[in-house]
Subunit: 341 residues, 2 copies
Amino acid sequence: MKRVVLASYARGNPRPSDFRVEDVPVPEAGEREILLRTLWIAVDPLIRFSLDENLLSGATRMEPGSLMVGPTVSQVVASNHPEYAPGDFVEGRSGWAEYNVLAPDEADYRGPPRKLDPSLAPVSTALGALGGPGQTAYEGIVNVGRVKAGETVVISAAGGAVGSIAGQIAKVLGARAVGIAGGEAKCRALLDLGFDAAVDYKAPDFADRLKTALPEGADVYLDNVGGDVTLAVLPLLKRGARMPMCGFIAYYGMGMEGPGPDRLPGFYRQIMAKGLEIRGFAGIFAGQKGLNDIAGWMKEGRLRFPEAIVEGIEAAPEAFSSVFSGHDHVGKLLVRIAPEA
Amino acid sequence: MKRVVLASYARGNPRPSDFRVEDVPVPEAGEREILLRTLWIAVDPLIRFSLDENLLSGATRMEPGSLMVGPTVSQVVASNHPEYAPGDFVEGRSGWAEYNVLAPDEADYRGPPRKLDPSLAPVSTALGALGGPGQTAYEGIVNVGRVKAGETVVISAAGGAVGSIAGQIAKVLGARAVGIAGGEAKCRALLDLGFDAAVDYKAPDFADRLKTALPEGADVYLDNVGGDVTLAVLPLLKRGARMPMCGFIAYYGMGMEGPGPDRLPGFYRQIMAKGLEIRGFAGIFAGQKGLNDIAGWMKEGRLRFPEAIVEGIEAAPEAFSSVFSGHDHVGKLLVRIAPEA
């Protein structure tokens, strides 16, 4: 079978050459272990934190030669564990490999692999609308952002898995949704999803376009990016605006400090001048309630979740790197490793 | 009479030479105007924002030659306005001058001068515990910080007017209060006020001392400073900590950007890694409820409010500058212009 390992420490944004595809024997399941065939890999940007010394708490460092690990959907091939049977579909964290052996009893705080019912929804949605990204979007818009009908919400990385769901949830709640994404194609796709406006951050007149899209400013800014995009949004936030923060991809390649000048003084000035409320959060807290609401909205046709699919494990390094350098997909970027049996 | 005007635009922290004391005639009160004799001037650091082009919203720019304006307590000398009588004590914003003429009908959003009852409390407290600083401390600890019994609160600029009250309010609520201040004398004064610990940010081993004072981290960080002090506190905050922010004196001399490196990436990283909640606020929202609680606690002897007094209007430029360069006073720094009649 094939698997992807880290070849070198990543500096700055990951590049395909930071990874290596290896041929290794298919592992065997030991006592109370299960053998999984990987179906889908989500190239989650948070994996970036495992690649260098600037770990977020909870992240496990990957060394050169380490198997890449992240969110996957798999199917049980062989099981020595009473709770899993061959043919079961599961979502969890496992290696970027065609097959993985897991010991459900030794799960970390995230819990053992979660069994999926393929009759309820396609199993790939467990990595998107009905998984971490859906929960994050829900938590950001509903619980942290406390978005109300008639308010205006602006969303960075709106073409991503979290952002594309978040904007649609804002619309379900009766708010106006403005997305920020890279490129005209992505912006058009956001309008198709129901966003009221979409602004291309790659346009030379981005700041002016953003101002035009937010003539009265914004009540909530769901930030997944940081960097120049956020510095352009801040002056447009209303007094007392809420800023739920679920990521900062512009800074993932940096440690605690980036190249000068120091922009923290201006950040403080905006927080104070506007009485902003900023909160970092992880989607896990939205839990089952969030997933149930999203599933209901999808069933009613009020929420669509685009998936962008690339094929084969050898495409994983390129797909992962493209998350940081910018790509043209909207929605969740998935790597299909094998068809469902 | 004497008055203080701005001599030059301030760059960086204000210096006494940025101001000039002038001799001018005492003005006369016109129709519906009042003539005030200044008793007390509060050298409020927020005045800094009126001195250059980096205005906070609500600040009025002062040009070279402009009379300095800020919070004062005065006594009415002559009145052509039916709501004010000679002898009345009032708190409001007026010039750094021995006498001022005000038109109460033309007040800005802050409202007309507020009449004070000298039998309830010394009138100078209207600039401290029973004024803006008291309201700010109350809002930060009670409403934004939501401090609960058994929690640990850390406070920057703890020797200042806001910080010294905030720590005592945290104690009233049953929390542990740790203050950060400059110099051993100030730290001892904080312990006298009831703080559980006080840490000198000028000590070469400040970060280690702070860690020792916060063995289990902090639940709430009331920040009035920013800069290096805050960068030392952030790693010690607990998951989900609240960070009410009422000022950022370390950055007042800067515009939107300071000298590199850029510390915003690390700030984002801490917000996300810990799920921090940051909120900028102004004390005005604590309103009369906050002032009533503070007055009650003072009456019960549970809250003391030190004042540091310098004498005479010619001392105002030096006193104002010392707020930024660091001084040895604890509590509110006031300039006494004249005795109460």
